[in-house]
Each structure stands twice: as structure tokens, then as C-alpha cells.
Amino acid sequence: MIVSLLFFKIMVWGSIIISALLMIAVFLYFLYEIKKNEVW
């Protein structure tokens, strides 16, 4: 079963976009927790 071009595009860009969102989410959590003094 050969994957379609659409699936391939979603896999490439989706993984990159989700990695970027993860980075942003963790960084925002860091700022938020620093502000609330809850980092550790």
C-alpha cells in the first residue's frame, strides 16, 4: 500500500509543525512557571 503525496506532505510538515509547537509550548510553560515560582 503506497502512501499518497498528501499523506507524505502531512507527515513531513506535520511532524515539523508539531515539534515547533511543542518547543513553543514548553518555553511558554517555562516563562509561566518562572513567573509563578513553580519551576521546581
Partner: protein
Amino acid sequence: MSSLWINVLIILALGAVFIISSWYISRKVSSIDEYVGGRGKLGVAFGTTSLLAFWITGNTVMAGPEAAYNDGILGALGYAALGGVAVIAFAPLAKRIHEVVPNGRTVGDFFRHRFDTKNYNLFIVLSLVWVFGFLMTQGIGGGLLLEQVFDIPYELAVILTFFIVIVYSTMGGFSSVTGLAFFQVMLILVVIVVVPPLVYLTVGVSPVYEGMQAFDLGSLDLLAPAGLLLLFAGPILGIGEVFMDNTFWQRAYAIRKDKVTQIFSLSGIGWFFVPIAVATLAFVAIGTQQAPKEVNQVAPFIAEIYGGEFASWAFLIGVWAALASSIAALLNSITSLILNDIYLKFKPKATNDQQLSFAKKLTIAIGVLGLLVSLPKITSMLQMLFFLGVVNAALIFPIMYGLFWKKLNPNMSFVAAISAIITGYIVYYSVGSLQGVVVSGYVSFLVCWVGSMLKPDNFDWKRLELAGVGQEENK
């Protein structure tokens, strides 16, 4: 200046930043709890990155693309599933660990209070073998990567990496390791978010897909047998590694109870999608017919072609940060296991200062030992992981049932672990490595389940609440 010395300078500069940051963090570390765990204090940012930093090793950044180069789409998905499924599967365990072992420090605390002495001793031996074996693979794998990909001689790469990691992880223990992990993961993620788009915006997604169709149609096949085996056996291997690895138990104890779900969800996303993002570089190699000298060099090879020297150095920074964070986490994990489950058995009255002093010396000793056994290049990362995978899989069900099912009989758990390891290695040598891992997990499940149904125990969960109590009270 040659690229070798530029690469060495990059590592030295990064190492200096890590050591100075660790010194800054370590100024506040005064208790042994902060040095080996932290007990329920880590928030989402540091909790997530401490989990990501351990798993996203230098080899993940390199081996993900290698799997994709060998097995195409299924290789990338299989490698992602190996880690991603494991961390998501550990999430309910982490929540349960907080509930039933609220004062624990290590996985040994759970085994000592949930099972009997023979189970505990067997587990401690197997756990130390596993975690030390994994440390070796990181040293050897890291040295090979830096030698093959970045022209740094193997011995120099191993010595530099271990020296820097020993210095910074000895200073502040768990606090330094988790504090630095945040910045190391950010570095890795920046590389992964910048380099693949740079490559794909230059070469285009459609031309890569068309190239894969023309040159290697099998790489786009979702039913290729080798890829399917990795896709299904990989998660069992990963789950086994994660469930018995003290590094994960340390973090399960260390993160805040109310943040467990958020932290494991974010980590699971990272563990699944980060390897895929970096593995997509291998598709460019297949689609454009540009083969590297060694297959594990495929990601930096493609990055350098389309991103130039900037991308190559970015990769070095990402790979080395990933390596350092994994080795540091392992050093601290072994230290906490030996301190908690061996040293304190012989010196139960040791004061906080005595424990702290012992833990620092132990971190240095383990680091030096790890360095020495990594120098001769004894084995490869993948061989070692598959070999130890049989042991990992044998302990999945004693741990899982042990946390959730009060009928689990400790004698059956012991028989399950031993019989699964024996059967697993018979299959490992007679049929195949991944098949051995699957059989080990299956035998462990059957013996635990059927044996405990026939001779059920009636475990009192309150016994687990005693695990770890009093360790911090010897001031």
C-alpha cells in the same frame, strides 16, 4: 582552522556553558533529596524537558533518519513508535506511582516493598546491568557519531563528552541535570525545527516524493514486512526499557502530582514527532539519490548539502547536547539507585552530608568507569539495546501488575521474569533479536497472569506508602 578544531571548539564552548550553568544551579542544592530526585517538585517545563532530554539521545537524532533511510516511511514511524508509545504507556503508571508510592526515590523502593527479597535482589541486579549497559551504548554510540560525522577522533570525543558531563552532573546532581535539560532540549528542538524546513523549502516536498516513487517505491509502502516488524516490536522494546529504567521512575517521583498528565502528554508528543521530523531528511536522500558514506550520517549529510556549514554545525550542537543530556541523566540515575538501594542498606543512619558526599564521589566513579568501558568500542548501540531488550520485556508485567493488581503473586512474578528471560534468549539466538523481545514479553504476561489467577495474593497497598520514608530524616 580545520573543521576538526572548529568542531572541538564548539563542544568546548558548549561544555563551558553547561558547567557554568550547573555551578549556578548547584549553589542551592543542599539536601540529598535535591541531588537524587526532588520528590514532587518539578513543573511542566522542566518535567517535560527532563523526560525528552533523556530519550532524545544523540542516537535518536541520528538513528531515526537511519531507520527511515533503510525502511522508508515505516522505518520513521516504527522508530517514533518505539519511544512515543512507551512514554504514553508510562503516563498511567506515573500517576499510579504518585498514588501508591508517595515517598519513593527509585524503582528499587517499589520492588522492595511490593515484592519479596528474591524479586528485589533480581531486579536490582538486572536494573544495574540495564542502566549501565545503556550508559555504555551512549558513550560508544556518541564517540562513533562524533568521529564518523564530525571528524573528531573517537577517543577524544568520548573523553571530552564524559569529562564535561561528569563535571556538571557531579556539581548539582538531579537539579543540574534537569535544569540543564531544559536548555539542551530547546537547542535540540531549534535544530529540528530549523534544519528540515530549510532543506524542504530548497528541494520541495513533491520532487522528493516523486523521486522516492521512481527510485525506491518500497520506501513508500505501508505494508513492507521489515518495517511492520519494527512498528510492532519496537513499542514492546521501548515499553520494557521505560518501565524498568530508574531514570523514568526518578522523574515520575520528581514531577508534581497534578502535572503528571500534562507532562507525559507533552513528552509523548515529542517522543513521537521529533524523530519523524528529523527522519524526513532521509527521504530527501532517497528521493534525490544522494547516498552518504555511512547510513547513520544521512541526516547531517543532507543538512549540509542544502543548508551549508551552518546546518552542519547546528547538527553538531543538537547531537552533542542530546548526548550530554542522556549521559548526565544516566549517571544520576545509577547514582541514586546505588545510594538508595545498596549504600543505605549498609549505612541506614548516614546523615544528609554523608549521603551527599558519597553521591558526588559515586557520580565521578561511575562516570570514569563509563568512560573507560566506552573507549574500546566493544559493541554497537543497536546490538546492545536488542540484547538487553529481552530483559526489559521480561519485567514489563511484574511492574505493571505490581502497581495495579493486588492479586499478583510475588513467586509467580519471579518465575515469570526468569522464564521470560530464558525463553526470550532461546528465541533471540534461534529465530531473531526482535522476536526474542516479543516472546519474552508474552511469556512474562502469561506466567504472571495465569499463575496469579491460580494462586492469587492479596497485597495491602498501604505497605507501599512506607517506601522511602525516613531516608531524608537523618540530618
